[in-house]
Symmetry: C2
Subunit: 337 residues, 2 copies
DNA sequence: GTGAAAGCGCTAACAC
DNA sequence: GTGTTAGCGCTTTCAC
């Protein structure tokens, strides 16, 4: 039960070479005669030697570990992002330390400190909002930090996103085209920069283009989860809206089920478009028409970006925007489109 | 952008004490005069010193990092397990390295090697099946490995689970009591020990108790995902079964939607009980009646178990069994129960 | 192509 | 209560 017994030194002795040579073989350094390389590899196999990444990390000051801060792995949107990150990380031989933050500022700072203490080579940060405390933390970090699915108001951090504003505007426009004038906008906390300064604006853009007055009473703030959507459904019904744009799939699932349970027929009496096109969008009945976005790719691209930053490569673009689209399903009337 | 500049030595010099003393205050060792402790803490704050966990890990041979191998974070059942693990890990000041294995044997071994190389203090392993290769890997590991939501046929590894056999038997019995005789059993690969030697047996136990002959044609093997359940739905319909037990929620969501889309009325013409009671179970319409199991707790308890093992404490029980239950929802007829 | 030796930043005896 | 001193297992100059 005791850790790591065979070291590079044992291999060196057994193979009758120096530790430096073993190190070279292990790290694939070209400057080793094929013959000695074979000999060393044989001993490595024989002894079952496995390099100690901790010692290596201390000596080289690179841990090949990156930190991933995620609000909650249990949320499908973020889990999908995380999967994209991990796959690309694995491809580049990085491991990821995953830390749930629950969007709590205290926890976010806490986990950032932990990550930095562990000497991660870089960090991918996910969340819904960036405040000054966490920005300070980014500055204190001596390693690159990339945002995935999160916009930095000041554009200081590299990031990967879709164009939330036009995505929302497009979706709203579809509903407007279908003749709706009272369209509910269901989103997260409007204090969150992305909601206030992007998604809401997209919604308003579309309204303005169709000369429909913006009505605050049609804006609903939830907490991104099913339960919150379900509860909002009653309020939405009472608001006399005839359609809704929901920023997040789990919340949208709550809205569609809440509405249905309240006797509202979707899509005949009420149309809904959701924002993520994650797995849950096809599980509900009717299925959710949705803005499509490459969630997995956002994570993957963010991680790829991080590898470049860790290699001190220049970034062509600091804030990458991936394309979004739209898919028509049962929660909107088919003859609209 | 270069890593960690202020070291324990800098703090020692500035505070006019030895590194040992700094180390003591950082680690909360009692043998330090309150006065010097304050002085050292002041310098730490002033210099912004953050202990280097890598150096610490090398010197102490403990990394306070544990490895978590997960088939796919994107699967809600495992994500929930992972969340339980992470929360308890954080409580005990451990960080987790998360690695997706895709249930591929090659990848599982690969990630185990990576984890071991990183000198994790322990591992929580999730998956659906254990084979000899991975068992060898567990043996090679010089650290404890705990299984979460996974049974070891040989009971060599500590584990946390529910009693799948009786859970399945209970659920099947409900359907039997409601008068069904042709009950489909939808599960994962029957080569998987848990499916073959526990879940299937539970199903058969119930059948036997009601003198209903076991019919292989009513057993359906899927791949634990929505798509697979959806595809199986047609076959299930053709099998003339009038009810189904589905081992996994995502698959059950596929089955219920597939059946509904094929014109079958659930629950009037067909009743379904699923196995996890994860979020998905309430998103479908009708909602899925389900075996309930404390998924989050399974992860949490597994991690707690690991902390004990890492402290070389004795385990009261090596294979923990958590209680399961049943919740009645819309996919079964209410008057049955 | 290979070796010697000096760290990397810390912990853990052990001494005082 | 505090300091000294070896390492922990590797990478990385710098020689040769």
């Amino acid at each position: 039960m005791d850790k790591q017994t065979v070291t590079i030194y044992d291999v060196a002795r057994e193979a009758k070479v120096s530790m430096a040579t073993v190190s070279r073989v292990v790290n694939g350094n070209a400057n080793v005669k094929a013959e000695t390389k074979e000999k060393v590899n044989a001993v490595i196999a024989k002894l079952g030697y496995r390099p100690n990444a901790v010692a290596r990390g201390l000596a080289s000051r690179r841990t090949t570990t990156i930190g991933v801060v995620i609000p909650d792995v249990t949320n499908h949107y973020f889990a999908e992002l995380a999967r994209g990150i991990d796959d690309v990380a694995a491809m580049y031989h990085y491991q990821i330390i995953l830390a749930n933050s629950d969007e709590s500022n205290t926890k976010e700072i806490q986990v950032m400190e932990n990550l930095l203490g562990k000497q991660v080579d870089g960090i991918v940060f996910m969340g819904n909002i960036l405040n000054d405390d966490i920005r300070d933390e980014f500055k204190k970090a001596d390693v690159p930090v990339v945002l995935a699915g999160l916009l930095d108001e000041y554009e200081e951090q590299p990031s990967v996103n879709i164009e939330y504003r036009s995505a929302m505007s497009d979706a709203t426009t579809r509903l407007l085209q279908a003749g709706h004038t009272k369209i509910a906008f269901v989103t997260g906390d409007l204090d969150h920069y992305m909601n206030k300064a992007h998604k809401l604006l997209g919604y308003q853009d579309a309204l303005a283009a169709y000369d429909v007055a913006y009505d605050e009473k049609l804006v609903f703030q939830g907490t991104y989860d099913y339960q919150s959507g379900y509860q909002l459904a009653q309020e939405i019904k009472d608001s006399e809206a005839t359609a809704a744009i929901v920023a997040n799939d789990e919340m949208a699932a709550g809205v569609i089920n809440g509405l249905t349970d309240a006797g509202v027929n979707v899509p005949d009496d009420f149309e809904i478009i959701t924002g993520n096109d994650s797995k849950v969008a096809v599980i509900t009945r009717p299925q959710l028409s949705s803005i499509t976005q490459p969630i997995y790719d956002i994570g993957a691209v963010a991680m790829r970006m991080l590898t470049k930053l860790m290699n001190h490569e220049e970034l062509a673009v600091n804030n990458i925007v991936l394309p979004h689209g739209y898919v028509d399903r049962g929660s909107t009337k088919h003859d609209n489109m």
